[in-house]
């Protein structure tokens, strides 16, 4: 396996740990799915106006987040309904647009389930850079984000700008999702965020332990999942997720056994 693929995988795993914690704590799983679904539209937009797929995805992700925040402030429909409308509209538009632009079944399949075919060293450098920047920003905002997670009202009263933090979190999600889609695929990207974090939750006593644990578990899933996918010639996303779920089950069962045998 090429070095640039391993480095990309580790960079994504590293940021997936802490970011995944917020997806779990703030119940953003559906939002992550929505972002991922909108990514296909981003690819199509990228093709049409001649910018890279990743930039197209990020632009659409930010537009998606802004649209969601704006619609939510109208207080007419519940957030999950709005997400359902936006996500599926974006996915359908994306599929239609890709087909009109002449994309084949294989290309669509690769976007939906992940593949390493398009991951050139140059793209890898972009993904690693994006993941690194996101991780840096996440660490900077960490204390405020944790306070906001315990109580938005309290954080707001103590001078944390909820709007700004929430938007930052959404943009971070957009960047990480766009960066990771090539490898994990649109349909499964959210699981890269929530399964390792949930596994770490079973073992952690502090938010930081959960974040670091999530990164380690995601790294392990990548390091086992990617070579297996490659040697069996399978899509990468499902393989990575299978390994993550296996790790989750092992930890869950291990914890139950330890608890029941404890005096």
């Amino acid at each position: 396996m090429n070095t640039h693929i391993i480095l990309t995988a580790l960079a994504l795993a590293l940021v997936a740990g802490p970011l995944g914690c917020f997806v779990v704590w703030r119940r953003m799983a559906y939002f992550g799915d929505g972002l991922a679904h909108s990514a296909l539209l981003g690819v199509a937009v990228g093709l049409v106006i001649g910018i890279s797929h990743q930039i197209g995805m990020m632009v659409i992700a930010v537009v998606f987040a802004l649209l969601l925040i704006w619609l939510r402030s109208k207080r007419v429909l519940a957030t999950d309904t709005l997400l359902g409308i936006l996500a599926h509209a974006a996915l359908s538009l994306g599929v239609v647009a890709m087909a009109l632009l002449g994309a084949g079944e294989v290309e669509l399949h690769d976007y939906l389930l992940g593949s390493l075919d398009q991951l050139t060293p140059e793209l890898a450098a972009w993904v690693i850079g994006g993941a690194g920047l996101s991780l840096g920003l996440l660490l900077r905002l960490w204390p405020g984000l944790i306070l906001m997670t315990t109580s938005e009202e309290l954080a707001h009263a103590e001078g944390v700008s909820i709007m700004r933090y929430e938007f930052a979190l959404m943009v971070l999600m957009g960047v990480v999702v766009a960066a990771a889609i090539q490898m994990v695929g649109i349909l499964l990207i959210t699981s890269l965020l929530i399964i390792p974090a949930s596994t770490a939750r079973l073992l952690a006593r502090t938010p930081e332990q959960m974040a670091v644990g999530g990164s380690l578990i995601a790294s392990l899933a990548m390091l086992i999942g990617l070579p297996s996918a490659q040697s069996f010639d399978l899509a990468t996303g499902p393989m990575i997720v299978c390994v993550s779920v296996a790790l989750f089950i092992i930890v869950l069962v291990g914890r139950l056994v330890l608890r029941s045998t404890a005096p």
């Binding site: 704590w25 306070l147 315990t150 952690a204 006593r205």
Partner: protein, 258 residues
Amino acid sequence: MTDLSPPSSERLVTASNLSVIRQKRAILDDVSLNITERDFITLIGPNGAGKTVFLRHLLKLDSPNSGSVTHRADLKIGYVPQRVDIDPGLPISVNRFLTLNNTLADAELEQLANVTKIQHLLDTPLSSLSGGELQRVLLTRALTNKPDLLILDEPAQNLDVNGQLQFYTLIEEIYESRNIAILMVSHDLHLVMSSTRKVVCLYHHICCSGAPESVARDPEFISIFGNDMAKLMAVYPHTHAHDHDHDHGHGHDAEDAS
């Protein structure tokens, strides 16, 4: 509006002619309130009267359609929200929660924890606290920045009677022992009567305000809260009359509760 505070006290918060309109309905209509040093104001009002909206404006979390809120320069406010829901997915100890996003020294934390009686809870996960314990932890957090003003939004709403008594006793102790002003939304007026210096009754506008005994005689108060509440309020101060020289006879509630 009656202002019972002595004129020499410094003004902490000035809310002038606040009006808030949401979906074409006036939530707050020309509401003014001054909070000065050492005030102990209890804000009462029926559900949907705009109490929480009013607090949010006093905290400057929202901006009104008209009117203004001014804080004294360098004013520090401690805020205890109505409730917080701690997601069990977030592993965080009480200790860590209290030191999030601030620079609280261990010694200060210990001293505060003693006041609010949460020393034994510091290593407990936040999500496993009982209602009363969680409120005491939130109160501790509100005190960490040494506030000049404590704002509490129905802090004892989800507690049982015993828990309410203990919580209000704690608030009174804090009021007595610190140079602090308090603004509290509470329906349990009979429980906070002995400390409350001023009652403000809000129903979109300020219906009446003043000392507890005088408010209880106000016709508008009686029309909103009924005679029973008015009697409860009118009776209580007589048995505890002139209770502003607090030697020790102040803690009836606490002794009864424990």
